[in-house]
């Protein structure tokens, strides 16, 4: 029996070509635009925290968002969606060096579970 997953269908690369009538020079996945659009206001907000002013054309913010997006999407593949990469980055970003400190996680304790031998 030849058995295969359906994963390749979900692996299709869906990219934004540009608005009708105009083709963008680079084709990026839709998700990348989405992330970019989320990141720009975030950086603007951070900027506002420092200066209490909002610029008309947020050049720095756009540049930072582009860099961040491309950096994140370098680690994205069909098996690892962007939100997983971001989440991992927030907790555990890659490092080659094995860190010296280890931290204790909470113990997972099951002693308060109630046990009945029989249901009902």
């Amino acid at each position: 029996m030849r058995l295969r997953t359906d994963d390749d269908i979900y692996r299709a690369r869906l990219v934004y070509l540009g608005p009708p009538g105009y083709t963008l020079p680079v084709h990026l996945p839709y998700a990348q635009y989405g992330l970019f659009i989320l990141l720009v206001p975030l950086y603007m907000f951070i900027h506002w925290l420092f200066t209490f002013t909002v610029e008309l054309f947020p050049a720095w913010e756009i540049a930072l968002a582009i860099v961040t997006t491309s950096f994140i999407f370098r680690h994205v593949d069909p098996d690892r969606p962007a939100r997983v990469v971001i989440r991992t980055a927030l907790t555990d970003w890659r490092r080659t060096r094995e860190p010296a400190v280890e931290q204790r996680d909470p113990r997972l304790v099951g002693s308060r579970i109630r046990i009945r031998e029989e249901l009902a």
Partner: protein
Amino acid sequence: MSRSSTPGSPAGRPGAPAGHRAQSFDYAEGDDEVALDPALVTSPGHGAVGVFQAPRPVSRRTPPAEPTAVTAGENADIDSPFLDLFGGARPGAARAVTAGPATREQPAIPQQPPAAAPTPARPAPELEPPWTPDDRPTSARRPVEPRWADAHPGSESRVPHQAGDRLPPLHPANDPAPTAGGASASTAGPATRAPGTRPVERPPAPADRPAVDRAAAPAARTAPAARTAPAARPTLEGAPHRTAAPERPREAGKEVAAPRQRTASRQDRPVRPTRVRAPKIKFGDRDPSVELAITEIAGHLTFTPNTVTAWYWLPEVRWAFRPDAEREALLSAISEQYAGLAGFRLHLRRTTRPFPADEWARTIDAHTASPLPDVPGTAGWADHLVAAQRHLMAVNHAEGQTYLGVTFARRSLGDSLTERLLRTFGRGTADGERRKLGRTVEQFDEVLGAFGMRGRRVTAQELEWLLYRSVALCMAPPGTLSPVTDGRWERGDLLALTEQVERYRTPYGSTVKLVNRMTGEERHVAVLAVGRMEPLEIPERHEPWLHFHERLPWPMEISTRVDILGSGDSFRNLEHRLRMIRSQQLDYAEHGIDAPPELERLAKRALVIGDEMTTGLPVDSARAHGWHRIAVGGRTREECMERARRLIQLYSRELRISLQHPKNQDWLAREFIPGEPIANTGYVRRMPVPLLAAALPQAASNVGDRRGDLIGRTAGTCRRPVFLDLHFPMEVRERSGLAVFVAEPGGGKSTLLGALGYLAARRGVQVTLLDPSGPLARLCAMPELRPYSRVLNLTGSEHGTLAPYSLIPTPLRSEFGVGAAGDREFEIAVSNARAERRMLVQDICMMLVPPQVAREASTATLFRHAVRQVPAEETSTLDDVVSCLGRLDDDAGKELANLLLDTAEMPLAMLFFGRPPEGLLGADAALTVITMAGLRLPDLKIEREYWSAEEALALPMLHTAHRLAVRRCYGGSMSSRKLVGLDEAHFMEGWRSGRSFLVRLARDSRKWNLAALVASQNPRDILGLDVQNLVSTVFVGRIAEDAEIASEALRLLRVPVDDGYEATLASLSAADTSSANRLGFREFVMRDVDGRVQKVRVDVSYVDGLLDHLDTTPAAIAAAAGVLPSIPLPDLEA
């Protein structure tokens, strides 16, 4: 395995390697009692050591008094097989042997109690050992049992501490007997069981006790038994104060450290008045803990605040060597079951349990009514079992346990609030909710219980076990609570143990560290996720993809969380995806760019799948979307990473599945715990349910019974120990005991035959091995067998040893039932025996005359005539046939008589003529090896005309020697266990009497409880004899030369031919061409009595010296001539 002491418990006493031992040396008499408390061993992992010991030597090693006699210096003399088990120094391999053979009171050869009636010997042959604490003092109740009859005072005094028998490091230490006696446990053979020893073994001067005792013991042991009972009485009465009742009913589990501390302080008191404070363990941080999501276990359901999950136990299924059609049927049945669970979220969890070596040892000991008496200075029966257990544990066999959880209900807010409320009153979930759920879960019983998974509801204990194993991922499981009682943990105990497991992670690390605070065990765990998968051809080319990890020798854990989507859901999901692809294609078209071809291909594939979904059966449409993880553990981070690397490599090379090693390991490890949230959404696999069914984590490859000797392990897709009791087919399955061994020369037939013979002889089975070429004779030189074994060399034997008439025994009337029916059967058997004798004599005569003469028709007629004249009784001889031929009125007859007489002049042929010597093969020796040293065996491929005279004689000699070997087994009791090993059985082919011999052997094997092992180079011999229906066990070794022979071997195994399994046979015992060393093992494909077929790697290296004695290579034989004790053949012969 694990450290036994809790941190800081023995107050002020540093835990020396032999920490337990140190306590008893200067103890007062009553105190070592307390030190031996079974409660000490209840820490997890301790029970798993599973050291079992047969009760006999124990009783020897427990003389009640003289605890003061031993000084620390003598410690080195304590010789016990157990000392090195826990890393303590073993005082040298050489045992201090004092009890020489002279002290033996029993006859050298054990008489065999009938195996069918083991009841007098062992009152309870079940698994439960008869030496539970309550049993012990009652030994007087079974006075017949020699093993117990001596139940000397020492054993009485130990009543509450029978656990100590299984806990050797405690035992020998606290018990100076081995030191004093100077003999190890193993030397405590029948001699020590002989009564009358106890009183004398207690010398008045304890200071120089060893010397005195060594002198006294032999004398004492030979003392007449009559003195026993009265002499032993005083000690018996002296003992009771130690069998104090209050100590007995102690709950073993409840006092882990207390008694030990008590004894320590008591001991300290005279020496140092100030108490040493136990070191306090300080935890720097605040030691946080989090409750698991599961709040309640009710029967087989688990409740979290939001969901309810029903858990099922999936039994192991056989995978290897099954026909592909059967496998496909199994897979499609399982996928139907998965499809039937559409709409639910599943949690498939596989964990492992270490092989219970102690349980096995108890079983085999219970089935061994009278093991071979121990020979002083060699490993005794108990040592033998301990060695096997240690071997088992060293190889790290783990049995898989597969659980399937179906998350089927969302709980309403009301339900979970009610539970919360009721919990404060200690009640848990509401009755109404559980009643409602109880009806709902019945549908799962129906779906999962059918052929395929055959799941059954788990019990609450199993769920506890699963939860503990998941929290303490990849750590050593807690052992049984106590080796004496059933060893079960009380409800909730296992869950309480999760408190001890601490979790550490390095912030960006690739493993999680788990530490068991109680045992100090440290584990590093890496969780791998199943990434991209290439198409698999599961029954035909590939192994089940979640069973595959078992190729690696360490246990791993598997967790699979999948959502099963029914046809509607999966179609909607797919259609959405298809629309996205189509719109992308449209985009490309609008922009006037060529779309990548993969889009069209994927769109087409999506269409095909969508079509299957809408028109096909539910099995085709259901999809499983989810996450598959494998956890790998190691003692250090490096070991863990190395194992993970090897696993990744194996999967990518053999199955083309890329295993990924993501970050966030702590979340991933948490995902293994039932009820906990899913770690993250990466590496979701979307697959049709048949592919999920083909994961088959519950596949296994068991073979053999679980009550016989350890002969090796399975070598196919996973590693399980293989046990073989050759009497299991007769005694339990009521099948014949014929076992067939087929292999090319050098495939290891003879070695396996010898090893099985040795192991059976150790268990007290009467063993006869026929080995024409002779290397097995060296078995008899093994020190532990030497007093009980005998070599019979036929080439140097007397007249008439092989006289054909007497080789076939006359049945006895007592072997048949009473009454007329019995009479009738008896008469039939007697006349059958006569007919067989005639057939055999005719065949032998035909073999003795030259082939040209034998081919003439008149020869057969004349022989038949002459044989008819001679009465076919045991007392007749071949000389009678010759004289009968000579008296015939026929020249041809006279000629034949002369031909036979000519042959009779050859020294070897004289064996056939005359009467057999008396007592040739008494039933006394435990192991008899019949050899024909120096005999040249003919090549059967060459025509008989071209055989030399000696080769021609070899044929009838082999025929009759086979009969002779079996003849011996008809001597004793019908039900006692017997074993016959026949090598070179292919010489039986082509003769009428050969077939009738094997058929008779197979038929009689059940009646006579006779295990018959037949080795041959060609399976055609057995198939040609048409006895394969009577064959219960088959071993096929390497067959690489001849494809035809290989396919016949497969037929013997009842494995489908032309399915590629021929290649498996050819690859058995494949030598590594790059290595210059000899192959250290042999592999066989084995079919057991239950029809399970498996590749087996035979490994009997745990028996000290056995392989050296079985080595048949020329160099080894030459070396053995110098090193091994040579056998003085004339002495050993009858």
